[in-house]
């Protein structure tokens, strides 16, 4: 087998600078006058306390998005404020985009269908299934239910709406023409913070709508608004059983008596706001559940939500020492709105949000000083997430070479999808299918974390030997028809480049996506 060198120069004795210059020369985005600066700095070489320009571009694009698309790389290189200036502007662009409707392709229409339509589809399908079961039962011998070949495919809406919701996430994180990369990142982060699980059949048809309409518009707004949007969305109302949380003694069907369900109230305190050490008690959980009685789904309302006074516990309650529902105080639905505002304004919430953002964007064990500043910014701006993100991307900690992050399977799938499509554009569906299957085997299925704590994103969770090797399988599958991805290789270290250079030409795409350099962000 002949092994032509990757680059048209002798590998031996080549300096890193020459290698990089040679790479950059062939790139459409390399602007005049900038090549020398880049070439003088190696992406992999230690350089004191500063990232090189190339490293800064890699960090900016892989953390504030998923992969370095050539358009983004060009934009950073021409930005007068450098990578940091670009990142600040990127926060504002993501904000502007978040105020516009998502660009959902027609093929994924279920994601953005109006809520009453989703409810109607679910009801139609449930009735069809009952009918099919009934028909089968009637026909079966001795009352045994037998599946009938003639029964309609009744689970199709449940299945396709779940698939479309997952596909939308993959499309959004990999294709900058569909979704702003930082907005896709923030949608991932906040969906995970306010996690819902598509494995529950009642939740599944709403997960796409939840991501696009409850999370996405609010990721750079005020945290309180994001919380309220999630609290009122059918996906969350179903997922944490809030639709079942009613005043003790409420009459139910068949003479049954209904009552409190603590599930949502507990996770609202423990995970969405204060955190487990945030200073609340079991009594607070119960009282908050009482405050929220009557918050439930409305299949006919455009918002999918309604407050039902009849189901609300009108008595007085005390949450974290503050009274609700008594004489002269907020009553009814207002109690819940004010309780959520109170939780959002709590110092423990500020701390928790600050810590989680810093972990996600900066380091698994983020510097305390950064968390302190983010937390202070949260409190000073009443939870303005855009201001927090601006502080974060402008912070020296974000750009500190010591603050390394390892890609999660989701990061890897999104970036490999995007980078492979860049080299071999075409129908995105097969690649998305491969990526979604990979994520199932990797333990990070899209919308598929069962419990409300969301996925962990640290290396301790995801960097394990066999799991790492499985990334190479996805790389190989996605790289079919992909040429040499020069737009990635400029970011790679000299040892990887040298090793890639010794490989046969047709294999370099897959190996570039499977290389160690591609696993870090």
């Amino acid at each position: 087998m002949t092994r032509p060198p990757l680059l048209q120069f002798p590998a031996a004795g080549l300096s890193r600078a020459a290698l990089l210059a040679s790479l950059l020369a062939g790139l459409a985005w390399a602007t005049p006058g900038s090549g020398a600066g880049l070439a003088s700095a190696s992406p992999a070489a230690p350089s004191g306390t500063q990232l090189t320009d190339v490293q800064a571009i890699w960090r900016a694009t892989t953390r504030l998005g998923y992969w370095p698309s050539p358009e983004q790389v060009t934009a950073i290189r021409v930005h007068p404020g450098g990578a940091r200036g670009w990142a600040l502007a990127e926060v504002d662009r993501a904000f502007d985009t978040s105020r516009e409707p998502a660009r959902v392709p027609e093929a994924l229409h279920a994601v953005t269908a109006p809520l009453p339509t989703i409810f109607a589809e679910v009801r139609r399908e449930r009735e069809a299934r009952l009918l099919a079961a009934q028909t089968a039962q009637d026909a079966g011998p001795m009352g045994v239910v037998v599946p009938s070949a003639a029964a309609p495919a009744v689970d199709s809406y449940l299945r396709t709406s779940g698939q479309q919701a997952a596909a939308w996430r993959m499309l959004g994180c990999s294709d900058p023409s569909i979704e702003h990369p930082l907005l896709a990142r923030l949608t991932e982060f906040w969906f995970n913070h306010l996690n819902v699980f598509a494995g529950r059949a009642t939740v599944r048809p709403f997960t796409g709508h939840y991501a696009v309409h409850a999370i996405r518009p609010n990721v750079l707004g005020r945290f309180e608004d994001l919380l309220i949007a999630s609290a009122r969305h059918p996906a969350m109302l179903f997922y944490l059983d809030q639709n079942q949380n009613v005043a003790e003694g409420t009459p139910g069907l068949n003479g049954r008596v209904r009552g409190l369900n603590e599930n949502y109230a507990r996770e609202l305190l423990e995970l969405h706001t204060l955190g487990v050490d945030g200073g609340y008690t079991q009594q607070d959980v119960r009282e908050l559940a009482r405050v929220l009685t009557g918050w439930t789904v409305d299949p006919a309302a455009p918002s999918g939500f309604r407050f039902v006074s009849r189901l609300h516990d009108a008595g007085g309650k005390v949450v974290l020492g503050r009274p609700f529902g008594g004489e002269g105080l907020a009553q009814g639905e207002r109690e819940g709105v004010e309780a959520i505002a109170m939780l959002a304004a709590n110092r423990a919430t500020a701390r928790r949000i600050a810590l989680r953002l810093a972990r996600f964007f900066v380091a698994d064990e983020p510097p305390t000083a950064l968390v302190d500043r983010l937390s202070a910014e949260y409190l000073a701006t009443r939870g303005d997430l855009r201001r927090m993100m601006r502080l974060l991307v402008a912070s020296p900690e974000f750009w500190d070479p010591a603050n390394e992050l390892f890609k999660t399977p989701y990061d890897f799938a999104c970036s490999a999808l995007g980078a492979s499509a860049q080299a071999a554009p075409g129908n995105r569906a097969p690649g998305i299918g491969l990526a979604l299957s990979f994520l199932v085997a990797a333990g990070q299925p899209v919308n598929g974390w069962q419990t409300p704590d969301g996925y962990r994103t640290d290396a301790a969770t995801w960097l394990s030997p066999e799991a790492l090797t499985r990334r190479a399988d996805l790389a190989a599958a996605l790289a079919r028809g992909m040429g040499d991805p020069e737009y990635l290789l400029v970011f790679y270290g000299p040892r990887t480049l040298e090793r890639l250079g010794r490989l046969p030409a047709g294999t370099r795409g897959a190996l570039a996506l499977a290389a160690p350099d591609f696993m870090r962000k």
């Binding site: 087998m1 944490l240 059983d241 079942q244 949380n245 009613v246 003790e248 409420t250 049954r256 008596v257 209904r258 009552g259 409190l260 369900n261 603590e262 599930n263 507990r266 423990e270 995970l271 487990v276 050490d277 079991q282 959980v285 390892f406 399977p409 085997a441 990797a442 333990g443 990070q444 069962q450 419990t451 704590d453 301790a460 969770t461 995801w462 960097l463 394990s464 030997p465 066999e466 799991a467 790492l468 090797t469 499985r470 190479a472 399988d473 190989a476 040892r495 990887t496 090793r499 890639l500 010794r502 490989l503 294999t507 897959a510 190996l511 499977a514 290389a515 160690p516 696993m519 870090r520």
Partner: protein, 414 residues
């Protein structure tokens, strides 16, 4: 008082009588004397999400039981399929756990009905962390207790000593000793691109450096090739009608196959979620019943595959659920729960430990089964007896936990 078993107390006493002096009882001396874990294999099945123990092990004769759970109580045993399966005058199995009855009858399945963590948290995630570190008085990033247990055996092993199926990196396995982690189902049986010599060589070259990532990758290639080879036979057997690789029972099959193939893997971990039944948990049938039937299939599989004298299967969940059903025919987060033990040396066919019933005065905060036995004291019993782990090591494994002599009958003697 630290964990201290009667065995070791006797040994300490013998040492003292023989004139060995106090030094013989010092931790270091014990650690050198006793070859740790000379026989046993341990499999932990963690039911994440707080499995409702009062549905799995039904206190059927307690009049409070049906009163507290008007729509979700499992009916008292009457011999029919929709009622509980009587074990003794107090307890019965959920009908979906019927496959476990033969194990109970042969005496290889035992249960401690009111065990749990001394920490009172009602957070799933905090409580699970405590069960995984074995340190319920702190929420630090300490290594998992299974990893610390493996470290006693082999302080600096180069090969994996622990095996996990399904989860990306469960905390209970994390620590200094390497764990082998494989995915659920058919994905674990595939060599993928590493079946191709050229691709494998190229990839190994790309990861030729000595950093953490490269080392992990090379380990992963080796372990993955072994897994796919060893599981291929298992897969072929499954295709021949011996049961699939889906579900928890499938995880159990793959775990057993790999532990059989590599004797150095003596600690295994499985988990299953979906137990957080706040709404419509069902009774003899329904949501919880279908989870329990999957669990029963897995435990029968494990019992079959882990039948050496020193083998032990431990099943637990982070806490129990409220004794009374809630307003939506489900149950909320509680405290005490049943712990299940399977193995030839388990004194099975018996309920062990204290049980005080469900009368209002006996419940924790008026709502939950109390924790009458520290989960670490339950685990310490078989670990001590089957793995030959000395007191000093037990105390290191579960610092602050006390030996619970009321559970001394949990493991068969001799």
């Amino acid at each position: 008082m630290p964990l201290r078993s009667p065995n070791d107390r006797r040994r300490l006493l013998r040492a003292l009588l023989a004139g060995g002096g106090l030094a013989a009882g010092a931790p270091r001396a014990f650690a050198q004397e006793a070859p740790a874990m000379q026989r046993g294999r341990l499999v932990v099945v963690f039911l994440r999400g707080a499995c409702d123990g009062l549905s799995a092990l039904v206190p059927w004769s307690d009049p409070e039981y049906a009163r507290l759970r008007p729509s979700i109580a499992i009916a008292a045993p009457d011999g029919t399929a929709s009622t509980a399966i009587g074990l003794d005058g107090r307890f019965a199995l959920h009908p979906a756990l019927a496959p476990l009855l033969p194990l109970w009858q042969e005496g290889t399945l035992a249960v401690v009905p009111a065990a749990g963590s001394p920490n009172r948290t009602r957070s799933h995630f905090e409580a699970q962390h405590h069960w995984e570190t074995g340190l319920p008085d702190q929420s630090t990033g300490a290594p998992g207790w299974l990893n610390r247990l493996a470290a006693f055996d082999t302080p600096r092993p180069s090969q994996p000593r622990l095996l996990g199926v399904g989860e990306a990196n469960p905390h209970i396995l994390s620590g200094a000793v390497r764990a082998r982690l494989i995915p659920r189902g058919a994905a674990a049986t595939r060599a993928g691109v590493f079946g191709n010599d050229t691709a494998r060589e190229a990839l190994l070259e790309l990861y030729g450096d000595d950093d953490r990532l490269s080392r992990a990758f090379r380990d992963g290639v080796e372990s993955r090739l072994m897994s796919s080879k060893e599981l291929a036979a298992e897969r072929a057997a499954a295709d021949n009608g011996a049961g699939g690789v889906a579900g928890l029972a499938g995880d159990a099959r793959q775990l057993a196959a790999l532990m059989r193939a590599d004797p150095a893997l003596r600690i295994g971990f499985l988990s299953a979620g979906g137990w957080d039944t706040h709404v419509n948990q069902g009774a003899a049938t329904g949501q919880l019943a279908s989870r329990l039937s999957g669990l029963a299939a897995a435990l029968v599989q494990l019992r079959r595959d882990f039948d050496r004298p020193g083998d032990l299967v431990l099943v637990f969940s982070e806490f129990g659920r409220t004794c009374a059903e809630n307003g939506s025919r489900g149950t909320d987060h509680g405290r005490g729960n049943a712990m299940w033990l399977l193995g030839r040396q388990v004194a099975g066919g018996r309920v062990h430990g204290r049980w005080e019933g469900l009368a209002p005065g006996n419940l924790n905060e008026g709502r939950d089964l109390p924790v009458l036995h520290d989960f670490r004291a339950v685990i310490a019993q078989p670990i001590n007896r089957l793995f030959g782990l000395p007191d000093s090591r037990l105390a290191e494994l579960f610092p602050g936990a006390a030996w619970d002599a009321s559970l001394d009958a949990l493991v068969r003697r001799g």
